[in-house]
């Protein structure tokens, strides 16, 4: 085989692998979803013998079967082995050979978790071994119990196991061989999944009981730990494209898998197209300004008129005049002037016709605008995916927490069809998980506590997504007890985040914001679910990295609301362009409240800060010079002259406003955001760079950071 075919087959494998990762994630997502439905149904039924929806079981069987096929094709034996078992369980269930019990569902959940972990391992090409022996053993015993799998002799069962799961043979001698010596029933009882009470003690007990048998070093952790074990891996596994919320297949839309990188490139090109369009518009304006004005045309006309009059005046030949010679000279000059004027006139008309050309150009630019706008929008849409699948992933999170903490929590999902940039969806998974866990773990009270304060025992967490203006808002709302302000204060002092005096003067809202400080966590104890992993400061910085913002509101006793606000897209932003000290800056239109011109004499100082009243509201004025530290050498000779009555752009972040003094307003533009981090690193106060129509670069101001700086006076001069 020569090198050429080797690469092409490698490429083919890579593509196959990519398809596998996508599809397996989709299948597992679906499986998870359907298991939740099944779980709900099993919980809700009155009669344990009630028959389950056959179609649901069929669908799950098919999902497992498809996954088995996919994995088998690529030789992922561990996945094939486990899915084979899962498939058998569903097969038995739909043939009524197996009754659907909560332990069976739990087992299936564990199996799906393991499968997700395995897929994640393949995705990250890590060699980590996913330990699925307990699950395999559990399933085996379940099937044996129902008689669907040969209840062979003990040794036979073990052999059977090895044959089925040859891939696991290396690490297999842990659970099943031990148990294979016992009879199938005790095995089921000893199995942690089957019996929670024995779960914690199982590993050690078993070792003692069957010390005679095989080496026991690879005893799996007990199953109660496993959700926590596998959860960190699972968010990555999700790449499902269609809203999994619908149970039955929606209308078939023809789709094509496209590399995200290609879309990124396309997006970049679309951005450049927008830049070019802006440039054309500028050129058009320049041409327009270069053509004759109405005034010019008029004065030319007047000039021709008066010259004609002069000709009339001097034109009549008067023989009698003595100064004939003089008049002749004048006449000749006038005629000459007239002919020159005619030439000028034609020239003028020619120039005027450029105006018509300008109109044409203007039309062309307009068309270009439409096309580039269309391309930009289409490319953007292509990157958009509904938020539904991301949201429904939290059903599982909430279910697990409510089980383990014996709470009753309902997850309400709204706005699942709201679309978000794919990258944002990916980046949001972790912060959202954190918020939902926080709400479920700390927010919602136990059923008894809820009943005590007159709330329904069933707590509600709502995930909502909707458009507001030019941004997308995602809210996580719970009707729990809200955040404990007293506790936050104590904690802030304890952690040395804030002095007692400073806390005294804080409003409740400000106190609440302490939770975003690095090193803060209100968790009373570290539980399985929250209080570990990332803190709220990381949640915040993750969202800010997406140019978004996050707010928290809390009403004691009534619950808390996390509000995440994200820009519609990260690639293009409408901005106001301003000139400050000979530099051009772009301010996101989103943050601009209004533009005012203030009178120099109206500016007063409050605590040394320049302040002005705009319609009765005090507003502090800042110079960019005060907020930014410019390198010394660049500064010299920069600050141009300032108007006595400067223009002020009022910018806002949440509920704080400041007035930024600018030298000149240049207008509004669609701005393609280029990250500084790509080739340099991020700069505080600047959220990116923009290439202007003329090819120069302007900086895009990070309004949030600017206001922060100005209010904290952190600026170092």
């Amino acid at each position: 085989m020569n090198a050429g075919t080797a690469t092409s087959s490698n490429q083919f494998l890579d593509e196959l692998l990519g398809d596998f990762l996508d599809e397996s994630a989709e299948l597992l997502e679906k499986l998870n979803q359907n298991l939740l439905y099944l779980d709900e149904w099993a919980e809700g039924r009155d009669d344990p013998s009630e028959k389950c929806d056959g179609e649901l079981l069929n669908e799950m069987f098919r999902s497992a079967h498809s996954l088995k096929g996919l994995a088998g094709m690529l030789g992922f034996d561990n996945i094939t082995g486990l899915t084979h078992k899962v498939e058998n369980v569903f097969d038995a269930a739909r043939n009524d050979q197996l009754s659907i019990e909560s332990q069976m569902i739990e087992l299936m959940f564990q199996a799906v978790d393991r499968l997700e972990a395995m897929v994640a391992c393949i995705k990250n090409s890590s060699d980590e071994e996913v330990d699925c022996l307990v699950v395999l053993g559990g399933i085996q015993s379940l099937l044996e119990e129902t008689g669907t799998e040969r209840p062979t002799t003990a040794q036979g069962a073990a052999d059977d196991f090895f044959n089925d799961n040859s891939c696991n043979a290396s690490s297999a001698p842990a659970n099943v061989p031990n148990d294979a010596n016992a009879d199938p029933n005790t095995l089921a009882a000893e199995n942690p999944a089957a019996d929670d009470s024995s779960a914690d003690a199982t590993p050690t007990k078993k070792t003692e009981a069957t010390a005679s048998s095989i080496k026991n070093d690879a005893i799996p952790a007990d199953l109660r730990d496993s959700p926590a074990l596998t959860q960190p891996a699972s968010p990555q596994g999700n790449a499902s494209k269609k809203p999994a919320a619908e149970k039955t297949g929606a209308k078939a839309v023809e789709t094509l898998r496209v590399d995200v990188e290609r879309l990124d490139r396309l997006m970049n090109l679309a951005g450049q197209l927008v830049n070019n369009k802006v440039r054309f518009a500028r050129i058009g304006d320049a041409i327009k300004n270069a053509t004759v004005t109405r005034k010019g045309v008029q004065s030319l006309k007047k000039m021709r008129g008066s010259l004609a009059e002069v000709v009339l005046e001097v034109g009549a030949p008067e023989e009698t005049r003595s100064d004939m010679g003089n008049m002749d000279v004048i006449r000749r000059h006038v005629r000459e002037m007239q002919s020159h004027l005619e030439i000028l006139n034609t020239e003028f008309e020619r120039i005027s016709s450029i105006r018509a050309t300008y109109a044409d150009l203007n039309q062309a630019v307009h068309d270009l605008d439409r096309v580039s706008g269309g391309i930009q929008k289409t490319v953007m849409d292509a990157r958009m995916v509904p938020v539904g699948p991301l949201f429904s992933r939290f059903r599982r999170v909430v279910r697990d927490i409510s089980r383990s903490a014996s709470k009753e929590i309902e997850l309400v999902i709204r706005g699942q069809n709201t679309e978000l940039d794919k990258r944002m969806i990916d980046e949001l998974a972790d912060p959202l998980t954190h918020m939902v866990r926080n709400s479920a773990d700390h927010g919602i009270e136990s059923p008894d506590a809820r009943l005590d304060v007159g709330k329904p025992a069933l707590g509600t967490i709502t995930l909502d997504a909707f458009h507001r203006g030019n941004s997308i808002v995602i809210q996580v709302t719970d009707d729990g007890k809200g955040l404990d302000l007293k506790r936050i204060r104590e904690k802030a002092i304890e952690k040395g985040l804030c002095s007692r005096d400073a806390l005294e003067s804080m409003t409740d809202h400000e106190t609440l914001q302490m939770i975003w400080e690095p090193g803060f966590s209100t968790a009373e104890s570290i539980t399985n679910v929250s209080g570990r992993g990332m803190g709220m400061d990381i949640v915040r910085s993750k969202i800010e990295a997406l140019s978004g913002s996050v707010e928290l509101e809390s009403t004691p006793g009534a619950g808390a609301v996390f509000t995440i606000k994200l820009p519609l897209t990260m690639a293009i932003m409408p901005c106001l362009l301003v000139e400050i000290d000979a530099d051009v800056f772009a301010i996101p239109i989103e943050s601009v409240v209004e533009i005012v011109r203030v009178k120099g004499r109206d500016v007063t100082t409050v605590h040394g800060k320049r302040t002005v009243c705009v319609r009765g509201e005090p507003l502090s004025l800042v110079d960019l010079e005060e907020l930014f530290r410019w390198s010394q050498r660049e500064k010299t000779g920069r600050s141009g002259h300032r108007d006595d009555d400067p223009a002020v752009v009022i910018i806002r972040d949440e509920n704080r406003q400041i007035g930024l003094i600018v030298n000149e307003l240049l207008g509004e533009d669609e701005v393609v955001v280029k990250s500084l981090g790509e080739n340099y690193h991020d700069i505080p106060g600047v959220c990116g760079a923009n290439i202007m129509g003329d090819g120069r670069i302007s900086l895009i101001l990070d309004v949030c950071a600017l206001i922060e700086t100005s209010s904290r006076k952190l600026c170092v001069k």
């Binding site: 970049n268 930014f628 050498r633 280029k674 080739n679 340099y680 302007s698 900086l699």
Partner: protein, 166 residues
């Protein structure tokens, strides 16, 4: 995009000694060399947008075919005195640790091939701050070329000004 790059092969090809190609440039009175593999292109100095909260030697940002890249003023980086741009001043666009950046140099002189036996370690006299930025000296017929480790020069942000090298 005019460059003043000329090819001159200085190595001894017949001896088959391992050799590498360098881009030579001038800064103040001295000549430096960077491995050609690091250099992406050489461009004229255009308008540079200044950037706040950056060290002195970051001159600003430029637009390189729709990519925004930072520009380092090597004179400032080495603590040399300021000099206005001349006709010879160039920006060398280099790739450093996966990032693309531009460095301003007084002039780009040539591309030359040197064999490894022409490269000597830096003399002990330049021990100290400057030393870690040079990987060696290249002995040419009647002059010396300072080999710069461009990765290190740009990697350290905190060093605002550094004593002149050599």
């Amino acid at each position: 995009m005019s460059t003043t790059v000329t090819e001159s092969v200085a190595g001894d090809a017949a001896e088959n000694v391992a050799s590498e190609q360098l881009v030579g440039f001038r800064l103040d009175q001295e000549e430096y060399g960077i491995a050609i593999t690091k250099v992406q292109e050489i461009i004229l100095v255009g308008e540079i947008t200044r950037v706040p909260q950056t060290p002195d030697y970051i001159k600003g940002l430029i637009n390189l075919r729709s990519t925004v890249i930072p520009i380092v003023d090597l004179r400032r980086r080495f603590g040399l005195h300021e000099q206005d741009a001349t006709d010879e001043t160039r920006i060398m666009v280099v790739n450093v640790l996966g990032k693309t950046i531009g460095i301003i140099v007084d002039a780009v002189s040539e591309v030359l091939r040197v064999s490894n036996n022409q490269i000597a370690p830096p003399p002990p006299t330049v021990a100290g701050l400057g030393r870690e930025y040079l990987t060696g000296l290249v002995k040419l017929e009647n002059r010396l070329l300072i080999l710069l480790d461009i990765d290190k020069i740009l990697g350290e942000e905190e060093a605002g000004s550094i004593g002149a090298i050599g």
